[in-house]
Homo-oligomer: 193 residues x 2
DNA sequence: CGATATAGTTTCGACCCGATATCATTGTGG
DNA sequence: CCACAATGATATCGGGTCGAAACTATATCG
């Protein structure tokens, strides 16, 4: 083997995360990014803990610190009193504009489009395979999810038993499943608009 | 922008590091890997701190813990009493065979060779550019380093003022410089074989 | 209704991390 | 040759991460 690509990925990720150092830790940045990208079914501490490959306890602490800083806020879920909906505040969105990952994206954006496409596909493929090995969810978009079917002009999700709006489709979902329908349906999802 | 590639890289790195969980932390694994790959000029706590984009104090602690576990050992540098040479012990090499990053490399090894080559080049390019932005060293191989010149059958390094053996050339060097000769020469390098 | 599962929090101990201080050794300039 | 700066390394402190375990409240299933 000439070069250890896994090593390069880990090193690059570390360099990218420890950038401008705008006051947040790597875990806090990851949480802030996650809640800004996740759809309404996935904006919970539990979903973040799965995404971050950590425990609910650790995720709870990270969320707590961001709420204390005013970058996130908690909302109660009307249909399930156990669950907590997390939202990114205006201050949180402002903070995201100084994300240290911006530098890496800038560098990557200068690559040829064809190279970037190969890179994206390879990373996506590796992430999916590794997530399967680690028993971690894949996190994809509802538009390509096996749970979601378009019927009579509306998109219906068989997993959360709800009609998806534009916002739901745009965000990343924890219940994403590409092809198979193995996952059991979830009950008590947040109310449909 | 369709997908945030930087996000994918950070996520993939996190998944890869938190794998088998063979008892070491992410920082400890990174240190162990580094000292196994670095050449004799770079097997020091300071070099690792630069590689890991952290402080010497933090790096010192990580090294200390690995020495306490018997995975690393300290050797004094004959030509500079301030410096400490770090070596990976037999137990350390045995531990490396259970590196959680192995899973990611296995997954990546199943990609088509052409894809893997594009991936490697793109990552290498991005790492170099980002390292420049972050004022971090690049860490490359002596065979492609601007400091090293072959003359009369021997490879001489103008940075460390020493003749390089096979082992030195094989390892990764902190003083790596691809094209320009901006770096000042280092004195008091470990004695030549 | 009772047993079990799920969402979330808290606490604990170990480690990471940056900042700072300290110490010994080495290099430099006068 | 000697003060002074630079370098390599370690130690300490406070805040954060992390996994494990215990715990509360709610939801689901039989």
């Amino acid at each position: 083997m000439t070069v250890d690509i896994a090593n390069m990925i880990v090193h690059l990720a570390r360099l990218a995360q420890n950038g401008g150092n705008t006051g947040l830790t790597a875990a806090q940045w990851t949480a802030l990014r996650f809640f800004a990208r996740a759809n309404r079914f996935s904006r919970t501490p539990s979903a973040f803990s799965e995404f971050h490959a950590t425990t609910r306890g650790t995720a709870s602490q990270t969320v707590k610190s961001l709420v204390a800083m005013g970058l996130l806020c908690r909302q109660s879920n009307a249909s399930d009193a156990r669950s907590t909906l997390i939202e990114v505040t205006a201050a949180g969105h402002a903070m995201l504009r100084e994300d240290p990952l911006r530098d890496l994206n800038t560098v990557l954006s200068r690559l040829p489009p064809q190279t970037r496409r190969v890179l994206e596909d390879a990373l996506h493929h590796a992430t999916a395979e590794l997530a399967a090995l680690r028993d971690a969810p894949t996190f994809g978009n509802c538009t390509s999810c096996a749970h979601c079917k378009t019927r009579s002009g509306e998109v219906y999700c068989h997993c959360t038993h709800s009609i998806l709006g534009q916002d739901d489709m745009a965000g990343v979902c924890i219940d994403f499943d590409l092809a198979k329908q193995a996952e059991p349906p979830r009950l008590n999802s947040p109310a449909v608009d």
